[in-house]
Subunit: 276 residues, 2 copies
Amino acid sequence: MTAEELYSNIRQKKSYLCVGLDTDYKKIPKILLDHEYPVYEFNKRIIDATAEVAIAYKPNLAFYESLGAAGYMSLEMTITYLRERHPDVFVIADAKRGDIGNTSRMYAHTYFHTLDCDAITLSPYMGRDSISPFLETEGRWAILLALTSNEGAADFQKLELKGEERLFEHVIATSASWGTIDNTMYVVGATRASMLSEIRKLIPDHFLLVPGIGHQGGSLEEVAKYGMNDQCGIIVNASRSILYADVTNRFEEAARDEAFRLQQAMELTLSERGLI
Amino acid sequence: MTAEELYSNIRQKKSYLCVGLDTDYKKIPKILLDHEYPVYEFNKRIIDATAEVAIAYKPNLAFYESLGAAGYMSLEMTITYLRERHPDVFVIADAKRGDIGNTSRMYAHTYFHTLDCDAITLSPYMGRDSISPFLETEGRWAILLALTSNEGAADFQKLELKGEERLFEHVIATSASWGTIDNTMYVVGATRASMLSEIRKLIPDHFLLVPGIGHQGGSLEEVAKYGMNDQCGIIVNASRSILYADVTNRFEEAARDEAFRLQQAMELTLSERGLI
């Protein structure tokens, strides 16, 4: 998918919402546990309840890996379901990979070809050859961790380098030249909203993937205020606040309500900027 | 496993060799492809051919993930095989994970409890709360990327911070206080052997996991010279040079020969230092 196709989907759905499929076997409604693949069954229903207003879905690999081979099957079936029923959405593998060149090449093949994801999240610590294999397939994206939403982001990401730049700024400025605005995005946590305007100075045109609203405490309004560019330029993720909006049999309705509530707020920000 | 148990195994086998199970389906002898799980079959034979002189095994997750659910089964069976037949060896999941706290907690549970690995490799970019869930289970280890063996290590790891320290040095010095010498190790590539003596000044007592000898060009002699401490303190990994020493039906013999050749060189370095 190109950046222009993503923008077109954002304008059409009046939304820049990504639903994080951090599907926890222990938290899904008991009624689903009778299915052969309960996690897949839950995902399918969450997807159908939210796809009208979500432009992207982001399965978090940790949750699938924790279930072994059955988890892998659930992931694979979830992606196939998205591809078949909702071919317009952008699928992000939240895997945070990053390894030496030949290993990264193998991960790229797995996520882009075998699993058919549009994008994968990556940790930049190992440098260029750990990232570049993900930039070689047209229409597929590398999403690099820049400034994350967790407390530990302060430990290394914000370190000041010689010459005033901070590590996350250097990571962004350096890696932006490895790819293009059609294959590279950055993760910037919503809990760092005021930093978004500084990041926009470095990369005015790149997409930012923003996790951390909802349970992690970030504010959608602040993210839009500081992070949007003149085409939108942000994809905001919500996971737990949608998936577990209600944990009874009316979880689909509650998930849909929460997704629509977020979409309404997003529509307002898009319209204020004249983007729709 | 404690550090003392690891040292005891090193003295007993006169070796600090880790065999990297980067098992590539496309490279294993054709005769194994008739088995239901060819990758597992190959691993089993490599393990039996080398366990006399290997103190650790390190499956590289990328290679198993690339095969989907069947790959996951092969990984699980390989670890079970190691646990049952060779209970003395140290099992490292080369996964390079690292995520926000609740996700890292899930990875820790998967790798330490479900899969029963002794250790997992981690990327430190997301800071303390991405690492600490891996330090909470007695006898299990977090192995942090510090200075890796690939070209891209120069991009960020070697950046100079304000105050002369380089990023990898800061990562080591900071994270060393999060755990102990009984649950934390660091990855330092063999292609950076001369840096090992500088790292030893920061962490004289921690284990270092050293990949990059063999195909990546690092020298075992230099690694021992600069990296050993007064108890040994290094685990040196070899993957492709052992696994694919020969790709015909005599691959087991060739793998064994190569592992024994490395062990002989390691025995010499241990004996020169009076450690055995």
